[in-house]
Symmetry: C2
Subunit: 400 residues, 2 copies
């Protein structure tokens, strides 16, 4: 790692100025790094806390080139930078992490399914579809409902449709969006595994967490996943580390998984051998950046996911992912009807001096992720109740 003469520490460029880049700054300050961020507007979440904020369009290669000049590494707040631009930057000798060959698997769900299937990672049955007839054909083999997903661009429940019949599928196909069909997985719960991998190949895994979703949006994360069988947990971590390694991920990789009763979308008909192979786990989605399922690590782990990501993209040795308390619960803060969240802030702080509120510097809009809260301790029920109370009160003013 070099220390350019014009800066005291290394410079990391972050494309995108949302809350992930904002939380990276919290980690960059003690690390002595200087962050540079590419924002669309000076009002964005990270632009408010990063001095070297540049404005520009990440879809423009010349903007990216100018932005990256002088950075020791370039990374991302989101997964929308065109693959060919990332390739062009790497070809010019820039350290871009994750690289295009890895990132494409987080950008393109069909590429992701192809590759995961190739390396033997448990996936639901899947195929790309172009017509409602394709979907019906897939359903004939795998049953309804069929999950249709936009191959590119979906997140937080957007770009995902659960179709119960061919008519519903036809409506989705009619949007013209390139689609992937997946068998519906009758899961017990959703898990996530966050791993980091550095360019020289060091890998670490955080404990497996349970994620609780409402309307396709993660509302709560429980760390570690309560009551998870130790062997299943180890298997989940092995799967995530294997994906990171096989895909050549540099930086963080979040692997969202379904925990099923016996493993696999067609578990009822699966042989006991197949059930053992998949250990009750089916991979749902990948993200290659700090992830909502890892926000608990800021207080809850020795190394936050944001610090870990910065260490990984600079090819520094990775930090300890061990937990700072027996249980950590994170609850997302979604905007409610009343925009003046600060007037409820004092009550939450007075009620629970140990809860941590994280605001993203965003104006409150109904349903928008504007922050999160974290609680930790030795009693899961208590910790969960504390996090929920704070999140619900901040959003609605209701006392739970």
């Amino acid at each position: 790692m070099s220390s350019p003469s014009s800066h005291v520490g290394p410079v990391v460029g972050v494309v995108g100025a949302g809350q992930l880049a904002r939380m990276m700054q919290q980690a960059a300050i003690p690390l002595g790094l200087e962050l540079r961020v590419l924002a669309n507007s000076p009002d964005e979440s990270a632009a408010k806390v990063i001095v070297d904020t540049r404005l520009g369009d990440y879809r423009d290669l010349s903007v990216l080139r100018e932005f990256a000049a002088g950075c020791d590494a370039v990374t991302f707040d989101h997964e929308h930078v065109p693959t060919e631009h990332i390739k062009a930057m790497a070809a010019e000798g820039l350290q871009v992490h994750p690289g295009a060959d890895a990132l494409v698997h987080a950008q393109d769900k069909a590429e992701m399914r192809r590759r995961l299937t190739e390396i033997g990672v448990p996936c639901p049955a899947w195929r790309t579809v172009e017509t409602a007839a394709d979907v019906a054909e897939f359903a004939a083999q795998n049953g309804w409902p069929v999950v249709l997903k936009a191959v590119r661009g979906g997140y937080d429940g957007r770009g995902v449709w659960v179709c119960d019949d061919e008519d519903e599928a036809a409506t989705v196909v009619a949007t013209g969006v390139p689609l992937l069909a997946e068998a519906f997985v009758p899961f017990e719960r959703e898990l996530a595994v966050l791993v980091a991998r550095s360019p020289h190949g060091q890998g670490v895994s955080y404990p497996v967490v349970e994620t609780v979703q409402e309307n396709g949006i993660c509302v709560e994360v429980l760390a570690p996943a309560p009551g998870l069988d130790a062997e299943v947990a180890a298997q989940a971590q092995r799967i995530a580390l294997k994906i990171a390694d096989e895909l050549g991920v540099t930086g963080l990789l979040a692997v969202e998984m379904f925990e099923t009763r016996s493993g696999g979308a067609r578990s009822e008909s699966a042989s006991s051998e197949a059930a053992t192979n998949t250990a009750g786990l089916v991979v749902n989605e990948l993200a290659m950046r700090p992830h909502n399922s890892g926000h608990w690590t800021i207080e809850g782990a020795r190394t936050s996911q944001f610090e870990q990501h910065l260490r990984a993209v600079l090819d520094l040795p990775l930090g300890s992912p061990s937990m700072a308390a027996p249980y950590v619960v994170m609850a997302n803060l979604l905007g409610g009807d009343d925009p003046d969240i600060f007037k409820r802030y004092e009550h939450v702080m007075a009620h629970d001096p140990g809860v941590k509120v994280h605001f993203y510097g965003k104006e409150v809009r109904k349903g928008r992720k504007i922050g999160h809260v974290t609680a930790l301790g030795a009693d899961l029920d208590d910790v969960r109740a504390r996090a929920r109370h704070a999140a619900v009160y901040l959003t609605t003013g209701e006392y739970t």
Copy 2:
């Protein structure tokens, strides 16, 4: 707490842009606050990480007024702002914390001794002195050595002279600096208590820590102070909270104390009643801001001192000061002979994935405080060895 329409969260102005303001930004990000900092130069530690950096001279009231306009609260990175300027700002309705009437006790050591004596806080014998004869007269009552201190402006061992005789005292007096004479306290070790007090009067105390000094500079902090008698610890916290309350401190107050065998500078001749009254504790110095003895709280306490200070100056409910691990050790990083500290960074990270390195974004200069390291765990000797190893290796490249 109001939320001005032009900002999403409250705005806190910090006068001074050193590492304390820099570390406040790490706390301000999740709190959703916007920091504004008054710097001497854009290269200063905090100016590199705070977007709203204003340049100007804190000794100029018109500069301070313009800086403070629109801030929900104003606080300080250092104690050098003239008392009369703080009074003028408060008279104009600005929320300035700590206020002038409190801060003067951290700015003026004679004022501090006068007031602490008045409220019955254990101090060494003291008097202000103008001539070497004054010092000799004081020594005739209290013995040599006599500690001479600049009434204003000293820190990190500067402005403190331990004089063994009248000749040495005469040399110090000749500098023309207004002086305070104090009896030399034959202490066992140095302790520090960090407390927070908010304008509406809520107070909290962090656990008592031991500070280890070399050449008048704090090099290591052990939290909690190992083997400290529980009653002495409680007494130390009561003394610090009493000082905060009596002096009307708003924000943080660090109270540096000597632990003596039986309490007081003249402990050999003290009555057993006096020894009981002082519980083996003598107050040495006060600081009214985040303090080096509290850097361990960033990872080591549920609420860091920087978050606590921001909460206090905004009159928000205070956070939990409880420890995040049984033992936490902080070691300061002083600049060594080799300025390229980053080349040793990787080795420290690889050696100990759990140690936390904090850089202040400062160029390395010999003897300059450029950062600190923190280790935590259940075994004090191990934790201490880890922190020391990291600090020594980063400074010198020597493997301890």
